[in-house]
């Protein structure tokens, strides 16, 4: 059985940003990528990732809805750490994400990938 803690689920629809994250994550994490909510929830269900990086503006289901779906689960997976990594950054967006149960909120353009990694490290089980 694969170590479930190895997986990091990245929900991001921009291929370039996905590549750049993958470039840094290579060798560090086993990364799963989802382009939209349906893919994200399927991968989440099947692989039990240890952490989710979640964009908010996605085709179809929004990141808020994905987060809500995860937090509504009844099993242990509902408490999987979720870091919002989005370019929405208004106070209202942050509050909404917090209220829905996001563990952290990073505005993409304002953070280097290293900063994202250090937030991830703090949340991943050692």
């Amino acid at each position: 059985m694969a170590e479930p803690t190895n997986f990091v689920l990245v929900v991001e629809d921009d291929p370039v940003l996905k590549n750049l994250l993958g470039h840094t994550f290579a060798g560090k994490y086993q990364t799963l990528y989802a382009n939209n909510g349906t893919e994200a929830l399927a991968l989440f269900e099947a692989n039990k990732p240890a952490l989710v990086l979640l964009d908010l503006i996605l085709p179809g289901m929004s990141g808020f809805e994905i987060l809500e779906t995860i937090r509504k689960r009844t099993d242990a997976q509902k408490d999987t750490p979720v870091i919002i990594v989005s370019n929405l950054g208004q106070a209202s967006d942050k509050e909404k994400a917090k209220a829905l149960g996001a563990n952290d909120y990073l505005v993409k353009a304002e953070n280097s990938i290293e900063e994202i990694v250090s937030k991830m490290e703090a949340m991943l089980p050692k």
Binding site: L17, L20, Q90, S92, A109
Partner: protein
């Protein structure tokens, strides 16, 4: 009925009958007391009539007064409500009121209508602008993120010194752009009133000292002396620490940029009349009188500021003042009396904005 006619009729009828009654009583009651030889008998009919006329006149005077006073009072109440709260109390124009008063009321209703329409148009335009800025800023952020992350990845790869320098240039400019986008978003949020301030008790003296420490390297690099002047005991101020720090940083950043080498930039903090004042004194090029009215406008840069090498987008002071006024405070400037340059003064009420007290 026009007011002059009301007054003329009232004057003729009321004054004449009143005088008549007073005259009658004078001769029947008072006059015989002074000169008893002249005796005019007081008749029951005369007394009743006189008393009746006086009584009716009194009532008529009161009614006449109220005829004018009531609608004016109603108008005053509506005007006050509109002026202070922007509230529109429906005004019923009484048919009994004199025509001048009715015209006045109608004009007022029209005035309120046009003021409201103008205000609504203003708000709509401002909303469209603000929405546009928000959308544009979000649209800009996604490609910016790609550029930023790619440059950061590139920085870590094997590069020659020249290449490293070039990547650093690109990274620096990219960070600048990120900051501009954030500023735009902050402005649109602050402007549309969506910005959420986090109020807490803040030691502004300590905050100023913090800014001095942060900016000392930058000042030293430009050959300036940055110092803070102690201003006695400063009470804690209820404000948004980050935003107020941002104001002070902007003022100091401006002061450093505009002060020539060898000059001084001085930050002061003082207390008086339930307000804390933070002053930033520079020895810069000063603000020409013709620009002084516009310096707090969006995207405005004084003519002599544009000509200098200084960077700046003309937004800092605008947001700074908006934040200050949102706190119930103010941001002003005055030319220095002891030499060239300008002093900016940020004043904040100790208790924070009145609406949240």
């Amino acid at each position: 009925m026009p007011l002059w006619l009301v007054f003329t009729i009232a004057f003729v009828v009321l004054i004449a009958t009143t005088l008549g009654s007073v005259w009658y009583f004078t001769f029947t009651i008072l006059y015989p007391l002074v000169t008893p030889e002249v005796y005019i008998p007081l008749t029951t009919g005369g007394t009743l009539l006189g008393a009746f006329v006086l009584f009716i006149n009194l009532i008529l005077f009161v009614i006449l007064g109220r005829l004018i006073a009531l609608p004016i009072r109603r108008l005053t109440r509506a005007a006050n409500a509109f002026a202070t709260r922007g509230e529109r109390i429906p005004i019923v124009i009484p048919s009994f009121a004199p025509s001048e008063v009715r015209t006045l009321m109608r004009s007022f209703i029209e005035l309120v209508g046009s003021v409201e329409a103008a205000h609504k148009k203003d708000v709509d335009t401002s909303q469209v602008k603000s929405d546009f800025i928000t959308t544009a800023a979000h649209q800009l952020r996604t490609p910016l993120t790609g550029v930023r992350w790619a440059l950061e990845a590139l920085e870590k790869s094997e590069l020659t010194e020249d290449q490293k320098a070039l990547v650093k240039n690109a990274t620096d400019k990219c960070h600048e752009l990120v900051t501009i986008v954030r500023t735009l978003l902050d402005i649109s949020a602050i402007e549309s009133g969506k910005y959420k301030y986090a109020f807490e008790q803040v030691d502004l003296g300590a905050l100023c000292a913090e800014v001095v420490v942060d900016f000392t390297p930058q000042a030293t690099e430009r050959g300036l002396v940055l110092a803070s002047v102690p201003g006695g005991a400063i009470p804690l101020v209820r404000c948004d620490r980050e935003r107020v720090k941002w104001i002070i940083e902007n003022l100091v950043d401006n002061a450093i940029r505009y002060t020539p080498q060898g000059g001084h930039v001085t930050i002061g903090c003082s207390f008086g009349a339930e307000r804390v004042f933070v002053t930033v004194h520079d020895m810069g090029i000063g603000i020409p009188a013709k620009d002084s009215a516009n310096i707090f406008e969006r995207f405005y840069r004084a003519g002599n500021a544009v000509a200098k090498e200084n960077e700046g987008n003309g937004l800092g002071l605008y947001i700074a003042r908006t934040i200050a006024t949102d706190h119930g405070g103010d941001l002003r400037f005055s030319p220095n009396t002891d030499g060239p340059g300008t002093t900016f003064t940020l004043s904040l009420p100790v208790g924070g904005p009145a609406t949240t007290v």
